[in-house]
Amino acid sequence: MADKQTNLLQGTLDLLILKALIAGELHGLGISRRIEQITGGTFLVKPGSLFPALHRMEEAGWLSAVWGESENHRKAKYYRLTKAGERQLGAETEQWQRIALAIQAALQTS
């Protein structure tokens, strides 16, 4: 039971990170803020879940990372979607919509 929940959350997190990066490259803190913003403050992503996810997605080839300079002139690691990442976003969006519809349908039947 616990496992399934994590899987769902992990899947959600991946989707949110991919979505956050569609507008352009961001560093870790930037991604966290952007997710908070686009979900209307519902999701607060802590570094403890963010960084493992970023590194996993980078190794999977969905993101690429470069070192750059942040807005307040500090060194920061910027993440960007790769072609594979864009495809993944498409796939995950579609899957999520299917799940959402299914769950909604399930909840509406009495």
Partner: protein, 892 residues
């Protein structure tokens, strides 16, 4: 795994440092950014940084998690575990040494037994491209009258020709008689060889080292070509490596044979019993006169093994299918018969009937030595448990630092696998020394004159794989339970050093279970040894129902050595006279198969006018046979000399046969038709008492005695009764035989050797094996019991001190300690006895009349085991009560 994942794997493994410092910089940047924002909002730099870190949550934990998800994380951790494990083991040299040596011994013994088994039953023949060499055997069911000469899975020559000419899968298919005994005229030595089809050497693809192999014309017609190929060892030992041997004529079974070649030293034929010569199969009628049938044309004789070399690109499954189709066509001509063809990669022990024996014996022995290894594992597991108790705090610290339980279990298992690997590697070394020693011991125990085996004791890949599997299994066996146990600690309690008491209980239970397993296994091994030993002792007083003392066999095989019945009759007359003249000889009788010689003749019989034929065992005996060996004739009489001489068809049957044919009637005067050389109707003149003539325990199987008439003289050997112990007359009899015929191969043995060699020999080997393993197991188990008792007492020194200080008597304390350590022993013992009760039935045939549930064996072994266990736990208990209460209370 995607491409990017693979590149990351390489990056992670090769540039570990840079990847790590990158990660560190990334985390730091994050924290600093958050802190900077907070300072802009007006916080002091120190407070901003503190708040940023709190929001982040443990930096180290996050880093560890990122490392954990990376490609190659497992490999990384594995190396880390190995390095750590090695360090731990190096710091405990005593423990490591004991554990590694125990395992080396255990795995070594197991691997050497397996080496033997492998070389006999699993290893393909050591020949060129041996994976394409196939053994072909038949198993027949249903209606048939088969003349079995050497094994039920062998085939006839016409059957071979059918397979050879109609198969589409073999480049060539050869057939050979696996065992042919021949006597060399020069040395009077009996050697074993193979009569083979002329393509035999092409199939095995081995060329003679000297001269040539067979050519097709050698097999053109019966007795066409009297040629022979010698083995290298025969050429070396008997012919002094004569370089001009090719072309010379040697006499075998009185037939002059021209030597055409000598095989290279490593080729000893394709059966477990090595061959010393090869002759064309068409020489069978003159070289091998054992059967009166025309072997080359008889379709119902089982005497040939087949060996085929697959065509390129043909699979084993195709070969099986094709040959079974041919067999089905042959069955079509024999209504009611069904033949299954067994096709396998050729090994030394290919025959299905023999394989069953080898596999069942092999697995029993492998299980027995495996059990001893299990006992050894239990000891090591116990040591690990004791050590884990000492590492409670280390493990608690690591759990508190955020290591997961799975990670810790993996690390502890890595440690035990390291020990197992060292033990396994050393064990292979041990087995490379013990396997040849074992072969030597076994060969020394095979009765004189019996078959000797050709086995190689060098380990091959299968042996190494077996040892590796053993290593991993033992590593898991002794490592898993202690590792799970050790990591189940309550962290808080352990850190406060209170955990010791609470976890002691469950740890004690596991330890008790280990002791119980050890005792149960020992019990099984020792009860088996005890039963076998009692069986052997019983066999010494065994009464087979006839006289065994002061009776000897003058063993020769005239038919095999080229005698016609007329020549044989003359020779036997001469021999009887010469042997009777020897000082101390009382009486001489003709017999075809000596009692209990493990030579059995079978034929079918029927009542006149009835079509139903029954298979029965028979023997051919002289008129005075019954009186010589002291078998009472319970009704009627034995044959008379006149009947024997004049070929009158009379027979004597045993009581079981009389009951089988004519229950409740008087058998005297009844008639039976015997289907032998020809159909003969015989009259029953006497009934002999049921005795264990054919085999021990087979007294009440029907048995028929036929007279040793003139036609049977080539099958006859002599039985001799002496006034003095047989040993005193053996060599004069041998001397007399040499005078009768200088070329004849002859064995002069006491009748008792028949009992000693066959039924008792294997039982002795089994006793030695079960006894050695049982005692070895018991020694290991006692060490385990002693160690556990000593350890648990050392943990309870304070408690014992308090009890003594409060006035407990030494005897009470001793009893308490003893009761505690004996409890698992007794439970294990009872379980062992129950297992024994279930399994000793399989030994029944080796017990010579002792019941498999023999109370004496069970009780005495159980008592012995309990006594040893008591001693092992008494020694530490005695030490416990010597504890000075004052010292004990200050302990720790």
């Amino acid at each position: 795994m995607s491409f990017s994942r693979i590149t990351s794997l390489f990056r992670n493994l090769l540039h570990k440092q840079r990847v790590d410092s990158d990660l560190d910089a990334e985390m730091r940047a994050y924290v600093e950014q958050v802190a900077a924002e907070k300072m802009e909002a007006g916080m002091s730099p120190a407070e901003a940084r503190r708040q940023a870190l709190v929001e982040f949550g443990g930096v180290e934990q996050v880093k560890e998690e990122v490392r954990g998800i990376r490609a190659g994380a497992l490999i990384d951790q594995f190396w880390q575990d190995i390095r750590y494990g090695l360090r731990i083991l190096r710091n405990n040299p005593g423990f490591t040494l004991v554990a590694v040596l125990t395992l080396a011994l255990g795995i070594g013994v197991n691997a050497s037994i397996f080496t033997l088994f492998d070389s006999v039953a699993l290893r393909p023949l050591q020949l060129p491209e041996s994976n394409r060499l196939l053994d072909v055997y038949q198993t027949m069911h249903g209606k048939m009258h088969r003349n079995v000469m050497g094994g039920i899975n062998l085939s006839s020559y016409p059957e071979y020709l059918d397979y050879r000419d109609h198969n589409e899968v073999f480049a060539s298919l050869a057939a050979y008689k696996p065992e042919t005994r021949a006597t060399l005229a020069t040395t009077r030595e009996e050697i074993n060889g193979q009569l083979a089809t002329c393509n035999y050497f092409d199939v095995v693809e081995v060329k003679p080292a000297l001269g040539r192999g067979f050519v097709p014309s050698d097999c053109a017609a019966a007795n066409a070509s009297a040629v022979v190929v010698l083995s290298h060892s025969l050429w070396e030992n008997t012919f002094g490596s004569d370089p001009a041997i090719v072309g010379k004529v040697i006499r075998m079974n009185r037939v002059p044979m021209t030597v055409i070649g000598v095989m290279p030293p490593n080729f000893r034929g394709t059966q477990i019993i090595p061959a010393e010569f090869w002759a064309p199969i068409t020489m069978t009628p003159s070289l091998d006169k054992l059967s009166f049938r025309d072997m080359l044309n008889d379709d119902d004789s089982s005497w040939l093994a087949m060996l085929g070399r697959l065509k390129d690109g043909v699979s084993l499954a195709q070969a099986r299918a094709n040959l079974n189709v041919i067999a089905a066509q042959m069955d079509g001509r024999r209504p009611g018969r069904k033949t299954d063809v067994t096709v396998n990669t050729a090994t030394l022990f290919g025959r299905p009937d023999m394989r069953v024996v080898v596999f069942s014996a092999g697995s029993v022995v492998l299980v027995a030595v495996g059990l001893v290894l299990l006992i050894a594992c239990a000891n090591i597991a116990n040591l690990m448990l004791a050590r884990a108790a000492g590492r409670t705090r280390e493990i608690a610290v690591r759990l508190a630092m955020g290591a997961s339980r799975a990670r810790l279990v993996r690390q502890l298992l890595t440690e035990s696998l390291l020990i197992a690997a060292a033990g396994g590697g050393l064990g292979l070394l041990v087995s490379s020394w013990t396997a040849p020693a074992l072969v030597k011991v076994l060969l020394a125990r095979i009765p004189a004159g019996g078959p000797w085996f050709s086995v190689s004791s060098t380990p091959d890949l299968r042996v190494i794989a077996y040892a590796a599997a053993m290593t991993i299994l033992t590593g898991m066996a002794f490592g898993l339970a202690p590792a799970l146990q050790a990591t189940r600690n309550d962290v808080n309690a352990a850190l406060k050093d209170e955990g010791a008491q609470t976890t002691m209980q469950s740890r004690g239970r596991l330890r008790g279970a280990l002791i119980g397993i050890q005792v149960a296994v020992c019990m099984v091994l020792l009860v088996c040894a005890g039963l076998l030993l009692r069986g052997l002792a019983h066999a010494q007083q065994l009464d087979p129902g006839f006289e065994m003392n002061r009776i000897g066999m003058v063993n020769y095989r005239l038919a095999a050595q080229g005698f016609t019945p007329e020549q044989a009759a003359a020779f036997n007359r001469d021999m009887r006279e010469r042997v009777s003249a020897v000082q101390g000889v009382e009486e001489v009788a003709d017999v075809a198969a000596a009692p209990l010689a493990n030579v059995h003749f079978g034929a079918t019989f029927s009542e006149p006018g009835h079509s139903e034929r029954r298979q029965m065992t028979y023997d051919i005996v002289g008129a005075n046979f019954f009186s010589l060996v002291g078998i009472p004739i319970t009704r009627g009489r034995s044959f008379t000399e006149t009947e024997v001489k004049n070929n009158i068809p009379v027979i004597v049957v045993n009581e079981a046969a009389a009951r089988a044919w004519w229950p409740g009637q008087d058998p005297i005067g009844k008639r039976l038709v015997a289907y032998l050389r020809q159909k003969t109707e015989c009259e029953v003149v006497g009934v002999a008492k049921d005795v264990e003539l054919d085999a021990i325990g087979a007294a009440h199987t029907p048995f028929i005695f036929l007279p040793a008439t003139a036609a049977e003289q080539a099958e006859i050997m002599l039985l001799v009764r002496t006034r003095v112990p047989f040993d005193q007359v053996a060599s004069p009899i041998r001397e007399a035989a040499r005078k009768a015929d200088a070329e004849l191969q002859i064995d002069v043995l006491s009748l008792r050797t028949n009992l000693e060699d066959w039924p008792l020999g294997p039982a002795r080997i089994l006793v030695v094996l079960a006894g050695t393993l049982g005692l070895l197991g018991l020694a290991l188990a006692s060490i385990g019991i002693y160690g556990t008792a000593a350890y648990s007492i050392s943990r309870r020194v304070r408690e014992i001190g308090i009890r003594m200080a409060l006035g407990a008597r030494a005897a009470d304390v001793k009893t308490m300690v003893l009761r505690q350590s004996m409890r698992p022993v007794l439970i294990g013992g009872v379980i062992g006895v129950l297992i024994c009760a279930a399994v000793t039935r399989i030994l029944a045939k080796m017990l010579f009349g002792i019941s498999p549930m023999d109370a004496i064996s069970f009780v005495s072994v159980a008592a012995f085991l309990t006594a040893v266990a008591l001693l092992a736990s008494y020694l530490p208990a005695r030490r416990a009560v010597r504890v000075d209460p004052m010292v004990a209370l200050r302990h720790e």
